[in-house]
Symmetry: C3
Subunit: 207 residues, 3 copies
Amino acid sequence: MLLTTLYIVGITAEAMTGALSAGKRNMDWFGVMLVASATAIGGGTVRDILLGHYPIGWVKKPEFLVITCIAGVITTVIARWIIKLKGVFIRLDALGLIVFSIIGTKVALSMGHHVIICVVAAIVTGVFGGLLRDLICRQTPLVLHQELYASVALTASTLYLTLLWLNIPELPATISTLITGYLLRMAAVRFNWRLPRFQLESESSVH
Amino acid sequence: MLLTTLYIVGITAEAMTGALSAGKRNMDWFGVMLVASATAIGGGTVRDILLGHYPIGWVKKPEFLVITCIAGVITTVIARWIIKLKGVFIRLDALGLIVFSIIGTKVALSMGHHVIICVVAAIVTGVFGGLLRDLICRQTPLVLHQELYASVALTASTLYLTLLWLNIPELPATISTLITGYLLRMAAVRFNWRLPRFQLESESSVH
Amino acid sequence: MLLTTLYIVGITAEAMTGALSAGKRNMDWFGVMLVASATAIGGGTVRDILLGHYPIGWVKKPEFLVITCIAGVITTVIARWIIKLKGVFIRLDALGLIVFSIIGTKVALSMGHHVIICVVAAIVTGVFGGLLRDLICRQTPLVLHQELYASVALTASTLYLTLLWLNIPELPATISTLITGYLLRMAAVRFNWRLPRFQLESESSVH
């Protein structure tokens, strides 16, 4: 219930940021809805396909897809307002990331997968939406060289799994993970924490 | 039977336009076959994966894949001739779009999905082939800012579903949808109908 | 046993070449692990998704994913050394290609698919890892205009299927395919064998 509410808030916020990327590429309404939906529910879709977890979330509940399409089109009208609310969206995005990570972990867990796969499922759910957005909009994927993003998903998933393993009931485990993960992500944004980069001259290649 | 014949015409035409894109990227024969096949049967493949509809069409009937590969290679020989027949290909592409939309709708319907998912299946079948082609060839996806394409798939699918819901038998429903959808697409091309675009300055971002 | 050992050697080598591509794009450690894994096990993943062969290889055996992630991160430390060992990597890549092709063929065969689909499974397993790497790193896919790559996978798969069809036991069939395929690939690299290219002026289009 808590997770579902936060999930809807999360996909709405993600859809809106996706729609802004589509706008920068001068796309039409269909493109806006496609990029908005890919950003918001693309991560969960890739996760479900990788795990063979059918039916995929939005195929079972098409209302999630309707929400992201509507959020995308509304964005074309209120884009200026959204851009001014940048701070709000960074917070919603952080919240969405943790919600996506917890849901991803739960799906893999419910299928009886290895703990490593549960963490991978969290990362895929949290990160691949933005990756798809950047592939469609032909931007170098942000998640691959920005502040901690996948690492936050990994940490949230690990924390959640540890709490469950310690027999903590689901609700407090979820709330603790949400708060910790959210604070970690906001700290990463504020202090510009990044993973080490790997820089290589463009000429060096084994191909 | 009618649909299968038109489907084969459709994938052949789509494969040929895909091969032309590969030629502009200076690809070798394998690349030509890959792009030709992705363009022609990529939409149906993505639809089947999203719906968990296994085995995928061309895995069950590999002859469809053979047709698209051969059509791709033939294109390398008769490219000049194809380019001159631009008008014919626009018509075949329009026909293919409606055939793909009807088939997509039928597949989702046969799996018992919500009507929204049937329409989405039609759009995915009709549109994602071209999207894959443009991703592989690194072009900004045409379907995201050209004349009505996804909208035609949506309209065709909705019309088809409505006719079935009105208890019209399948053959007349299919033919009516084919004619209406084809005319709509050709009108969109001729009169350059487009969806409203969403334009945003490149600097504005919440990321 | 032989195949599993060679498979681990193959994915390690592929992960390292993938990590080098990530380094040229200045990605962080997560990006390096993503590109390394996509390069090494992306082909098998796409094959399993296309065939509906669940659970996917690395979901069942997460240690393969752990290996590619570790190989990726190690590459960031020993990159200079790897680049100097270019010759070794070309050999390992050739070996990996044949191993991937044989495994792809075996998976499709075990599912009872048509011989054409077995060959396609070999090509997808051998080629799509590099294709995913180049899509994520926004390079024009190498496999689409370099020395024979898909053709070697096709030849290896066809040879392997023919040997099995001639009732040759699996081990000698595997070893013969490995040796023949490896030599073919190395010859293609040395003598710069390529498939004919399809060149088209950029202006010519039916779209």
